[in-house]
Symmetry: C2
């Protein structure tokens, strides 16, 4: 479907992570094969690898429907100086938390470990069924599953996904334990090469408004003037001065579309800077 071939693909590991699952889904949906799937320890190193490797793709989480924007991704994307590396695709993954253990008896469990976000997203379940259990935070859900699988203690359980259950050979004690049902994470696919263009394209850009009254309103009016739909808006601190922000938006259509081209050019006169992070298609 998407005509692109690269040697390496980088993603946030370890294997079994949601980014790993999103990467596999992307390769399948697009019928792409890569030589090497290379997990990284954090988002910063995924981007560093992508910058250094001329023949690579990478997969990065950008937004979770419960938690909001993934700050480490957007802050690091804003720092990338190599303008050839652009967002080329988007893929979404439903997040389903499971309770995993070596034992098959849920009553054995005395301690539960997971990433703080996963623990927070299952807090009603934990409050109801594991009021007296010890709760421990670890760096990722897949690391929690790995830790349970290598522990000699059968009273520990991990909150992680189905892929982790498979990889680490753990039993599912309880499934769909999320407090909220609409738990979904969007991922970006970045590369130097472009995919084939489709109808449902979006463009991601960042800008800083001038320090004057109504500046954001003036910037947004540009999109309104050209009837361009904003599909996302968020802000990040400039990190230079409290009260100064960088806005991050996604708009419908490609950067080359006539009305988007005009709007982006006009936007420059109301802003300190505009950075186009990429035009991309949404893979389903």
């Amino acid at each position: 479907m998407a005509l692109i071939s690269e040697k390496n693909i980088y993603y946030l590991g370890p294997d079994g992570s949601n980014a790993h699952c999103a990467m596999l889904k992307f390769l399948k949906v697009c019928n792409i094969s890569v030589e090497n799937k290379i997990p990284q320890r954090n988002i910063r190193t995924v981007i560093d690898c992508e910058v250094k490797d001329l023949q690579a793709l990478c997969v990065l989480p950008i937004e979770n429907s419960i938690e909001g924007i993934v700050r480490e991704t957007i802050d690091n994307l804003l720092k990338v100086k190599d303008s050839d590396i652009q967002i080329r695709g988007e893929i979404s993954l439903p997040i389903r938390h499971l309770l995993l253990a070596k034992t098959t008896n849920i009553n054995d469990i005395k301690k539960i470990i997971s990433h703080p976000q996963a623990l927070a997203q299952c807090s009603s379940f934990l409050h109801e069924k594991f009021k007296n259990a010890e709760i421990q935070e670890v760096s990722s859900t897949s690391y929690a599953a790995q830790k349970v699988s290598t522990s000699n203690d059968n009273t520990i359980a991990a909150i992680a996904n189905e892929e982790s259950a498979r990889i680490f050979n753990l039993n599912v004690l309880s499934s769909d334990i999320n407090d909220e049902n609409n738990n979904l994470t969007r991922f970006y696919i970045l590369s130097r090469k472009n995919f084939d263009k489709t109808q449902n394209g979006k463009t991601a850009l960042a800008f800083a408004t001038k320090n004057e009254s109504g500046a954001l309103c003036k910037a947004l009016q540009v999109f309104d003037k050209y009837s361009i739909n904003l599909t996302y808006i968020d802000s990040r601190p400039s990190k230079k001065k409290i009260g100064e922000y960088v806005f991050f938006v996604e708009i419908e259509g490609y950067r080359e579309d006539e009305k988007n081209k005009n709007a982006i050019s006009e936007l420059s006169s109301y802003t300190e800077f505009v950075k186009i992070l990429g035009s991309f298609q949404v893979f389903k």
Copy 2:
């Protein structure tokens, strides 16, 4: 200065935390004495205590100049049903990270523990001086200091603040180790009673736009129409559907000010809901 008296004040503990320091600064600046200073384990329980306790103040972090909005605070404030509990004050605290240990020799240190945000904010320092040290994440900076003080291992150091050094009787091995200089956290003070009004008031409100093109722009134009300055804007996922957001803004002036009253009333016709979180003064 501010005429208010309450019995209890709740804040995010343990003692030595930045919220604890902000609470002490607030009581000093406003010359307020309270009977009980009561630390809580997390932001959710601070708000729960405030709701149940009719004679209480509470202190909550809302924004850090590097990290952005404190999601747990805004998400929980949006859930508070008791309209009497409002934001009444704001106070800011510079965040200064120190390297603390039992030893006085920095060369002894082989392991460094702290909160993930503090570790991230000192990453250049750690990369330069402690390339081979073991790094461990714990739940708060003050807990890290406490852990170092009770450990028999003299090769562990904590990244925490000056107050923690004092409380846990630790040596300062290195000070001002933050990567960025402008590290500042804003805190809200909430209560049922109002402080005396001053000139420099702000009002915090949240609204959800209607699901139509240019909806945010129309909402912001209302503030522009009345020449009301937005001092802050951020968005949070509605948690109901991906792509639906709640916007959180702060504007200059009090809710009773004529132009703010008109703007807020007009805003209702462009939004699904408007919730006023409070009008408050900024304590320096």
